[in-house]
Symmetry: C2
Subunit: 374 residues, 2 copies
């Protein structure tokens, strides 16, 4: 009884604590959003009593959808069913896209703010968290000579890396898209879980994955020179002079071109081709995912591709991936034609889908299974 | 000239790319927000043509502040000057707090969505990124027997950890507050940079810091039992049965109570006291930061504190930190009185300030300099 009384007091205390704005924050979460149903539909909810209209944008539906408000100020809508995958979405309030306040899964980006919803499949997908040995994702900081500042790197080491202190590993340098950050391949692309699963199945070589921050403007977001977005030359210089040396000094790598790969999405695909094809002594594996290249720029962008095509045929893999509904699909096809005209070997992977991170996961899984194979 | 022409085509291509909604996202960032000025005032900007009113909440000002809209739909306000520190803030649109879309620094939380702005000091602060050796922050996944799922851990290893494969380290278990996540001590509390700086100055022992996910409801945010927030018993069980064994199996730790510390903020301070004081054989160092405890609950919460006070005097450190303007300051004082009545040794650190992450950084820096000292 005495115990019960104390418990009563305790809960009174908690209620006072929760209601008191000691941390300057709204009251505790009382909504579940998103709620994924067994039939693969999803209910999204947002408490927003002051709004006159709330809409939602998702990457598993077309266009925008209105939410319906109830008398308590909670807006909701049920959408789908959706193909099992991980989808970005955002509520739209007064024309601005906002994250779902009740969802911890966010899309790291310097411009838009999306949340993520995972629709699980009946059997786990290549990006699903499974009961397999997990690698480690590390946040590192290196001193960039080119950019004269301390910059972040996210690095995946495969399962077994710590337990085998004499083993050396190949390295994939994996680059994000425009306005993404060094976290996007980890938090949205699930590079770690994809490799954990492929390695567990024996379908990929254990490898280190280095995810640099490819935007060369200051990463605190306060510098003004963001207008110049395609800073490929600067990024390439930073990669060659600082990132690769940092990685090879701090990790047990196989430091030769046979064991170095570079891949990237969108603007990162452009960086991949620019860095990879202009440094044939550095990388033997070059994988462009929906690269931001245009036929008019091929010659200026890839001078040595024209100067010495034979050099590029020494690569072990030059691959171009793109979704067939991607706005850059036509450019990707034109690029492969330009390669073909010069008798340069390449491979393609053109699944369905658009310029999305759902496709990025497919691109990575597809090329990871080819990298560093004899 | 030919080169120039190609470059011209290239930029045309870029513009088309940027304007084409290939990724279903708004056009490129064209605003700088936040912009920190040399006089330590800050200008915040948001493009929101459809809004009738936009306000901002910051933790360096009182109350909310209206932004002024211009004819192009850009809202802005300049606030401050502010004391150098890292402050959470959010725009308020239709009553909901939203992150700043143009700012990459976010506050990981399961309920509110705040951005962060750093006001640099003239000389670097303890949390500033400095040119010192940096430790590594790793995201790990462990199998929780108690919660029957795979759960995340964020782990800091100090500079030199990889280079000294025979050295073993003490461990601080550091717990976040209510609705925070395993990332909050890293991304908001800057635990890594604080320790990097203290270690470089010789003011803290090199230590491993383990930042668990302390909310025992499913971490995908889709389970419904979030109403029960104080799941201290469940968390304690997971800590003792799964987290500590995982850390000691995977890291070179000194696995005894002299080299294990526990600390936490707010609800994490409550977990700290509950776990630390009820396991005197596990931890010799117990640091509560603005703990969510109330005088009425002391007896029920900390039975052994009353049963055997002498046991607690074997601790090397029992400390209570709290800001003097914190809503929990009175409770913190009452708690120390309860300790005093039972002749239990303790230390306090009561700086100015509220229930904030600005104070969390001070609390950590203060206690990290005491931990594991002879």
């Amino acid at each position: 009884m005495k115990r019960l009384l104390f418990t009563g007091f305790l809960f009174l205390g908690i209620i006072v604590f929760i209601q008191t704005p000691v941390v300057g924050q709204p009251p505790l979460p009382d909504l579940v959003s998103p709620e994924v149903h067994p039939d693969k539909t999803v209910t999204f909810r947002l408490r927003l009593p002051d709004a006159e209209e709330v809409k939602i944008y998702t990457q598993f539906t077309e266009g925008e959808h209105a939410l319906t408000g109830d008398t308590s100020g909670v807006w909701s809508v049920t959408l789908g069913p959706a193909e099992p995958d991980i989808y970005p979405y955002a509520f739209i309030v007064d024309g601005v896209r906002i994250m779902d306040p009740n969802n911890r899964l966010y899309f790291p980006n310097e411009h838009f703010k999306h949340s993520l919803v995972e629709i699980p499949a009946d059997t786990p997908q290549v990006h699903s968290v499974q009961e397999v040995p997990h690698g480690v994702v590390s946040y590192r900081y290196y001193s960039s000579e080119t950019l004269d500042t301390t910059r972040p790197l996210v690095i995946y080491t495969p399962p077994g890396y710590e337990q085998n202190p004499s083993k050396k590993y190949p390295v994939l340098y994996l680059i994000h898209g425009m306005t993404d950050t060094e976290e996007t391949w980890f938090k949205v692309g699930r590079a770690n879980f994809i490799l954990d699963n492929l390695i567990a199945r024996g379908e990929a070589e254990p490898m280190i994955i280095v995810m640099p921050y490819a935007n060369t403007y200051s990463y605190d977001g306060t510098t003004a020179d963001r207008g110049e977005v395609l800073q490929t030359a600067l990024f390439t210089r930073d990669m060659v002079r600082s990132i690769i040396p940092f990685v090879e000094e701090n990790y047990r790598t196989l430091p030769d071109k046979e064991h170095r790969a570079i891949a990237g999405f969108s603007l990162g695909g452009r960086h991949t081709l620019a860095t990879g094809l202009s440094h044939p002594g550095l990388f033997d594996w070059v994988c462009a995912y929906a690269p931001a290249v245009w036929p008019e720029g091929f010659e200026a962008d890839f001078e040595n591709l024209y100067a010495d095509p034979a050099l590029l045929n020494e690569l072990k893999l030059l691959s171009v991936s793109c979704g067939k509904e991607d706005g850059l699909y036509k450019s990707a096809q034109e690029f492969t034609k330009a390669l073909e005209m010069r008798s340069i070997d390449y491979q393609t992977f053109f699944p369905s889908g658009g310029h999305t991170w759902m496709n990025c996961k497919k691109f990575l899984a597809e090329s990871a299974s080819k990298l560093f194979q004899e």
